[in-house]
């Protein structure tokens, strides 16, 4: 009796179906995620990267950003040009001549670089004088003014204050 049952069960064990993962619900979630990401997809090659620790002001502006040199300043008075840390102001944000020169030199170098590329290639977009100002919302106007002054001295005369949608 036990022997017959053993033979019967052995056949069932041999024919056991492999475990199948139910993927349709996972696919539902992924499709919804895909739709959401497609909706937010941006074809614009120019994307601004805002450094950690900088909280930009919000605004009702709907003017899209354009490609240009990016200068950022955090509330701790760190100054970045194209995501590269150039200098940090000390003593609660006091400016020194050396810092002016450092920032100006960096901006001039970028300008010169763009102009050299423009000379070498017809397809290169030339120097457009645009400077994107990514400033922390807590900064006082004197720092914004200083950055604008240095930028204007370096040939960047189109100031774009970068804001976030309110």
């Amino acid at each position: 009796m036990a022997n017959k049952r053993f033979i019967r069960n052995r056949t069932r064990r041999g024919n056991a179906e492999p475990f199948e993962l139910e993927m349709s619900s996972l696919l539902d979630i992924l499709v919804i995620l895909l739709v959401f990401l497609l909706k937010n997809y941006s074809v614009d090659e120019f994307a601004l990267k805002i450094n950690k620790g900088i909280s930009i002001p919000d605004s009702i502006s709907k003017t899209l950003t354009r490609k240009g040199v990016t200068i950022q300043m955090s509330k701790d008075f760190e100054v970045f040009i194209e995501e590269k840390l150039i200098t940090t102001l000390e003593n609660d944000g006091a400016w020194t001549d050396e810092q002016d020169v450092l920032i100006k030199n960096e901006l001039l170098a970028l300008k010169e670089n763009t102009e050299q590329i423009e000379m070498q290639s017809d397809k290169a977009s030339g120097f457009n004088g645009i400077i994107n100002l990514i400033m922390d919302r807590e900064l006082s106007y004197e720092h914004i003014d200083k950055i604008m002054d240095i930028s204007a001295d370096s040939g960047y005369e189109q100031f774009k204050f970068i804001v976030i949608e309110s």
């Binding site: 056949t11 024919n15 199948e20 993927m23 349709s24 996972l26 696919l27 992924l30 499709v31 995620l33 895909l34 990401l37 497609l38 937010n40 997809y41 941006s42 994307a47 601004l48 805002i50 930009i56 002001p57 919000d58 605004s59 009702i60 502006s61 709907k62 003017t63 899209l64 950003t65 354009r66 994107n132 400033m135 922390d136 919302r137 807590e138 900064l139 006082s140 106007y141 004197e142 914004i144 003014d145 604008m148 002054d149 204007a152 005369e157 189109q158 100031f159 774009k160 204050f161 970068i162 804001v163 976030i164 949608e165």
Partner: protein
């Protein structure tokens, strides 16, 4: 009689769709889109003209101008001044963060724009201790939100020359241009409301008192 399991009839099973390749494609697409997604919408406020300096020579057009808005911003007060005759149009005590204060500023700017609809330039003189966030709020009020088509600068100039050619005086030209701007504004709004599906009665009600949008969007910071 005992029969082999293989000889028994098996129930026909439906063919299942193999979801693995679809899942592979979806995963790859998701990774690609995740790297390019922009969740935060970033915009700009432009100040295209260089830091303001006194012009060495005024053009005939500038000599005829009777109004240029200048806004003095400090942590104590905000003053709206006609920089050509230095007349103070309005003064407000600042109260940053107060909605009523922001509304007063907005209403005053709208009022000034209604009186001078062709004027787009504003000079801002800001005290160094004003916080950037508050300055952006003022810029928002000055620039306005609605961007319905108005007469462009080139078109304004062309129309102005035409009217000068007809022998009209400067004040008459300004009045005619104001009316034409308001009419263009009205036409733009009617088109917008029709697209939104509003009825003719609603459109008439909304466009009876037309305000000029697209306010002072040529911002110059005083040095």
């Amino acid at each position: 009689m005992y029969s082999l399991p293989s000889a028994r009839r098996k129930k026909p099973t439906a063919d299942k769709l193999n979801l693995t390749p679809i899942l592979d494609v979806v995963f790859v697409l998701i990774f690609f889109l995740l790297f390019s997604v922009q969740l935060l919408r970033i915009y700009e406020i432009g100040s295209d003209l260089p830091i303001y300096q006194e012009p060495a020579e005024s053009t005939p057009q500038q000599k005829k101008k009777k109004f240029e808005l200048k806004v003095y911003v400090s942590n104590k007060s905000i003053r709206f001044v006609n920089s050509l005759n230095r007349k103070v149009l309005e003064r407000f005590d600042t109260d940053w963060g107060n909605e009523e204060f922001e509304l007063q500023i907005e209403q005053k700017i709208q009022e000034i724009k209604n009186e001078h609809p062709t004027e787009r330039r504003v000079v801002i003189a800001t005290h160094k201790k004003v916080i950037y966030n508050n300055l952006v709020m003022i810029l928002d009020k000055l620039r306005g939100e609605d961007r319905i088509y108005e007469m462009g600068l080139a078109e304004q100039e062309k129309r102005r020359l035409e009217l000068e050619g007809e022998g009209k005086r400067a004040e008459e030209i300004d009045d005619i241009l104001n009316e034409e701007m308001l009419e263009q504004r009205r036409i733009g709004l009617i088109k917008k409301y029709k697209e939104q599906g509003k009825t003719d009665e609603e459109i008439l009600k909304l466009t009876t008192e037309v305000k000029i949008g697209n306010l002072f969007n040529q911002i110059i910071f005083e040095d």
